[in-house]
């Protein structure tokens, strides 16, 4: 990517992300009063990750069937509360295994 289009993106990303983290820790130290706003902010991470994961995860390996194998394994392990690293590695291994099985047929 050309530097003239890269640096504006980098600056916007880094500044926005930093300000979101920095301002509440230094300037706005007050509690949020609005019940709705509190609930909304509490739900935002789950909503963001839900929207980012589906359907994109099905395209993450270049093949829907191997991605499905990875999703099934990840869902089972995540449901059981396994750590981030365990779930991520197991999903990769499931995709690798599925690729191997598909080569056989």
């Amino acid at each position: 990517m050309s530097l003239s289009s890269y640096f504006p993106y980098l600056a916007v990303m880094a500044v926005v992300t930093y300000l979101i983290r920095m301002l509440p820790l230094t300037v706005f130290r007050r509690e949020i009063r609005s019940r709705f706003l509190q609930d909304f902010l509490n739900y935002i991470p789950y909503a963001v990750l839900g929207a980012m994961t589906f359907p994109d995860v099905m395209y993450s390996t270049g093949n829907m069937w191997t991605a499905l194998a990875g999703v099934i394994v990840a869902v089972i392990l995540a449901w059981r509360g396994k750590s981030l690293l365990t779930v991520a590695v197991a999903a990769c291994l499931a995709v690798a295994a599925a690729q191997g099985i598909m080569l056989l047929f």
Partner: protein, 233 residues
Amino acid sequence: MIPHFRQGFRHGIPIGLGYLSVSFAFGMQALSSGLTVWQAVLISALNLTSAGQVAALPLMAAGAGLTEMALTELTINLRYALMSLSLGRKLDETMTTGPRMFFSFANTDEIFAVASSQPGKVGKSYLYGLMVAPWVGWTLGTLLGAAAGTLLPQFIRAALGIAIYGMFLAIILPPARDRKPVRFVVILAAALSVCFRYVPGLNTVSSGFTIIICAVAAAAAGALLFPGREEQP
């Protein structure tokens, strides 16, 4: 001071190892989105945020506007505002304005979780120690993924592509299992996102705005239907 720094550093090591693997996948993804190795590394070194960086790649590749980029990062990273507000109450008197401005750069989901779970107040030395391994892991992993990712055989690269989504699932599923409002919000956001991918007309909306619309709608619906059901993180 030094023992606190060392304790913080030790607590950061597992986070750093986790970041190493996920940012490896980010580095590979960045290269296939048309970035150079150093462009990918600089993004990780200056942002230190998984979801925000992953979402930025298709925007850059599509030549999206800077407003769209800013709004996308704002929506995805809005959760950090809440974490910073919450963590602010846990800091001791060594965390004056300068250290607060420095540490807030590294207030990621995992660092926040570890810092919050410490007994009593936390200070500058502990938090500075805690930042080190995650930042190194995240930046180094990106470098390795971007530089060496292309050397890996195709089947390994394909398998690694799912790593970051595995991490996302590990974050959202346990609370979705235990709490009905979270389950509702996750399913609604995912369903909306699927609609924006496949429904003619809706599928012309760019990836950044899709995330913004789905996340804001699902979180607002959750807040309206289940008021007062979520505790502060």
